[in-house]
């Protein structure tokens, strides 16, 4: 996997969220917060903890986001992405 420019802290104390990543950055999913339905939906689409996700691009108006996960492309809104806590990609 391509590794991002080591700018993400791996300490659990300051988790980042998927919505904060820049285009081209990848990270490892730590957990999904937010409501149960959203969490299960995202999990079912393969965003399980430990999986690697990459932000491919943002839509022209800044929202939604295109992600690469498990070898396919998924789009989610920023709101939804902000429920996904991610850590640096070792």
């Amino acid at each position: 996997m391509p590794s991002p420019a080591g700018d993400s802290p791996i300490h659990g104390s300051t988790p980042r969220f998927l919505s904060e990543l820049k285009a081209g950055e990848s990270a490892r999913v730590i957990e999904i917060r937010g409501d149960d339905d959203l969490r299960r939906r995202l999990l079912e689409m393969g965003l399980t903890s430990g999986s690697i996700v990459r932000v491919v691009r943002f839509a022209p108006l800044g929202d939604p986001i295109e992600l690469a996960v498990r070898g396919y492309r998924l789009s989610v809104r920023r709101d939804e992405a902000s429920a996904v806590a991610v850590g640096g990609n070792e």
């Binding site: 996997m1 391509p2 999904i32 409501d35 149960d36 339905d37 959203l38 969490r39 299960r40 939906r41 995202l42 999990l43 079912e44 689409m45 393969g46 399980t48 903890s49 999986s51 990459r54 491919v56 691009r57 839509a59 022209p60 108006l61 800044g62 929202d63 939604p64 295109e66 690469a68 498990r70 070898g71 396919y72 492309r73 998924l74 789009s75 989610v76 809104r77 709101d79 939804e80």
Partner: protein, 725 residues
């Protein structure tokens, strides 16, 4: 469990969206297909047949889904079919699970859910060619050993592996079925629930593991009521959940999803070997997306595609609609020629043929729109369109996929509403359906043009400005109403926009034509009957009771007019315009016009305009021909109608002698037409797409109220500030 049909073996076909399921289904069944709907929901149901080695096989194609956890109508129907819970249908004898070889992990999420249900299964590992291109070598035999069911490598587009699938489906018996590994605490909990399900007789032992997983996921998601599971089992589930919670498993459903993916990751790593590291290089789709979702080019291309679609709905459809109209007129003339003049001939010609024409005339627009939509869907661009437009639509509480239905509704709300089928979330879909009729459709244009011609003598710019304002008004109100509905009536958990962006591929003509035809046929058979019925009723209201000297033709009141084509030729051909006008004025509809005059006078409408408004409930463009009849305009003469309307005065009441049509009353009338749901076809389609009369009644009610209040506001404020004259 066992087959109830003596002859045909029933096999369900399941798989993720974009797994090539439809292509494989077509390859398996050829032309022997039938499309319909599942009872109570607007989920399309495709069936096909093939025979192999003396066995008849009936394939039931399920909608493309990612999970059977039943959070959308598609998922619910699929789960119910697989569990034999559809009314009047036995559980299928087997299931063909189609997985996308180039996206195995996510596809196996659904596939293993289905395998857990203990139904005889065959897995088609489809799109093997694409997986190979990506440098993946899939060991089919190893997969088959891991899962305990036959796995067949297929390439649906090349029909490779199709025969192997056919014979595998005939041979497939109940698969040797194993449980799969779960983390300690979970495994014992699922086992306990499975045992209690078997003990309660809720399902056979074979399906217990899968049912336990499904029920535990559902229960956690709050959907346990529908399952009809005994109190004992529910108590077991609750106590197991409490135990799990005490051990730190807070969300059982989520833990089960994670566990399944962990297991899938484990066995696929044993069966798939990669020549190159995963996603190391850019795929073709990535390169296309660089352009098509680009800030500038992507937006421009999208605007171009939408413009092309919109223009073709208008321009390609128009000649076809003209032909349909001409054909309808020939038929009507033929009937009058053959049958003696009288109510029977008139009913046949103007009532029934007119009504049928009102249905058929929509076909060109519907076909063209669905051709585009099928093309966009099949190529993969539809998901990008939603991706591009979602930010804009979400401001009104809608979904990116609401954009195309709403845009199409500028041409005609009927295909626009049918196009909402692409929106998965039922609330988003309903909100889109409810506001689509507010977009100014092409049937309103002749109304705007006629009224503007009668009340505005000014420059072209003024007229164009007025028309543009009407379009703008409809659009703004539609978005506001959508936002309002989403905040009140259709409030619910924040809808998600979790959408796959599938790889692009070349559209397959056969699939596209089939999708276009299937949808158009559903419109003809289901909505069509209602439209004809309404048209006949409205015809009768304008036809009866007869005045002493019956005029042979009242085609001006024919309900079936095209939304695009001018109405001049539909004006009465009777030599005596006065007699035709008299008939209408004395008909039930004429009386209704007079009866409602007190109600509509505050809007600036006299009873004759009221007749036009009433007649328009069949279809808006009927307004023009009705005005022609009610004001005794010369046949086929627009200028005459304009002049008659311009000089018409109130014939009774306090305003007697004043002009009926002033710029103010004209604007008030147009605003009414912008907002009012005067279209039987739209209501019939809403009924059809929502499977209930509640929503068409609601749409009709709120739009009529909105139209009335807005016109009242326009006219009364106008009068007060002194622009009434």
């Amino acid at each position: 469990m066992a087959a109830t049909t003596p002859r045909a073996r029933r096999i369900a076909v399941a798989g993720n969206p974009n797994s090539g399921k439809s292509t494989l289904f077509n390859a398996l069944t050829g032309m022997r297909q039938r499309v319909g709907n599942y009872p109570g929901v607007t989920v399309e149901r495709h069936e096909g047949r093939f025979s192999q080695a003396g066995t008849d096989v009936l394939l039931v194609d399920l909608p493309g889904i990612y999970s059977i956890s039943a959070r959308s109508p598609d998922e619910e129907v699929s789960r119910d079919v697989l569990l034999g819970r559809i009314e009047g249908e036995a559980q299928p004898d087997g299931v063909l699970i189609v997985v996308d070889a180039s996206n195995l992990e996510r596809n196996f999420y659904l596939a293993t859910q289905i395998l857990d249900l203990g139904i005889p299964a065959v897995i088609a590992c489809n799109m093997m060619d694409i997986a190979e291109e990506r440098g993946e070598r899939i060991d089919i035999d190893a997969l088959s050993r891991e899962l305990g069911v036959p796995v067949v490598a297929t390439v649906g587009t090349r029909k490779s592996g199709v025969d192997t699938v056919r014979s595998a489906l005939i041979d497939a018996a109940i698969a040797r079925h194993d449980t799969w590994p779960l983390p300690g605490a979970l495994e014992s909990a699922v086992r306990t629930v499975a045992d209690s399900l078997v003990a309660a007789g809720a399902c056979p032992a074979m399906a217990a593991w899968g049912m336990a997983l499904l029920v535990m996921g559902e229960t956690a998601a709050g959907g346990n009521e529908r399952w009809g599971i005994s109190a004992t089992v529910r108590a077991t589930i609750a106590s197991e959940q409490a135990r799990l919670a005490s051990e730190g498993v807070r969300d059982v459903a989520s833990a089960l999803v994670e566990a399944r993916y962990a297991w899938i990751g484990e066995f696929t790593s044993r069966c798939v070997h990669r020549d190159t590291p995963e996603s190391a290089d850019e795929t073709v789709s990535d390169r296309i997306d660089r352009v098509l979702t680009h800030k500038v080019f992507g937006t421009l291309i999208f605007a171009g595609v939408m413009f092309a679609m919109f223009v073709s709905i208008f321009s390609w459809a128009e000649p076809l609609m003209r032909w349909i109209e001409t054909g309808q007129e020939y038929l009507q003339a033929g009937i009058h020629h053959v049958l003696p003049a009288g109510p029977v001939a008139d009913l046949l010609a103007e009532g029934i043929i007119g009504g049928a024409g009102a249905v058929v005339v929509f076909l060109p627009q519907i076909c063209i729109l669905f051709l585009f939509i099928a093309l966009l869907e099949d190529s993969g661009y539809m998901a990008r369109a939603a991706f591009l437009m979602d930010r804009l639509m979400s401001a009104a509480g809608l979904h990116g996929k609401s954009f195309i239905p709403l845009l199409s509704s500028y041409a005609c709300a009927v295909p626009g509403i049918m196009a909402t089928r692409t929106i998965e979330n039922p609330r988003d879909r309903l909100a889109t359906i409810l506001v689509a009729p507010l977009m100014s459709c092409s049937a309103r244009l002749p109304v705007y043009l006629t009224v503007i011609g009668a009340v505005f003598a000014g420059s072209v710019w003024l007229k164009a400005g007025v028309i543009f304002s009407m379009y703008l008004l409809g659009t703004v109100i539609a978005l506001l109403m959508a936002a309002l509905f989403k905040k009140t009536l259709l409030r619910g958990p924040t809808p998600t926009f979790i959408m796959e962006l599938p790889p692009y591929h070349l559209p397959r003509p056969r699939l596209i034509l089939r999708a276009m035809w299937d949808r158009s046929k559903l419109f003809l058979t289901r909505a069509g009957t209602v439209i004809v019925a309404v048209c006949v009723v409205l015809w009768a209201l304008a036809y009866f009771p007869r005045v002493s000297d019956p005029s042979p033709q009242l085609s001006g009141m024919t309900a079936g007019q095209s939304p695009v084509i001018e109405q001049r030729h539909a004006a009465p051909r009777a030599t005596d315009d006065e007699a035709t006008g008299d008939q209408l004025r004395h008909s039930y509809m004429g009386r209704m016009g007079r009866a409602i005059e007190p109600v509509i006078a505050p809007l600036g409408f006299d009873w004759r305009v009221g007749v036009g408004v009433l007649a328009s409930f069949a279809a808006r463009e009927v307004f023009v021909s009705t005005m022609g009849v009610v004001f005794n305009a010369d046949d086929n003469d627009e200028a005459s109608l304009r002049e008659r309307m311009r000089t018409a005065t109130w014939d009774s009441g306090p305003r007697k002698g004043q002009r009926v049509f002033t710029p103010l009353s004209g604007v008030s009338l147009m605003v009414f037409y912008v907002l009012c749901c005067q279209c039987a076809s739209t209501l019939a389609v809403i009924r059809r797409e929502t499977n209930s009369w509640r929503w068409p009644v609601f749409a009709f009610g709120y739009m009529t109220a909105l139209a009335y209040l807005a016109s009242l506001l326009v006219y009364q404020v106008g009068i007060r500030v002194g622009i009434g004259a």
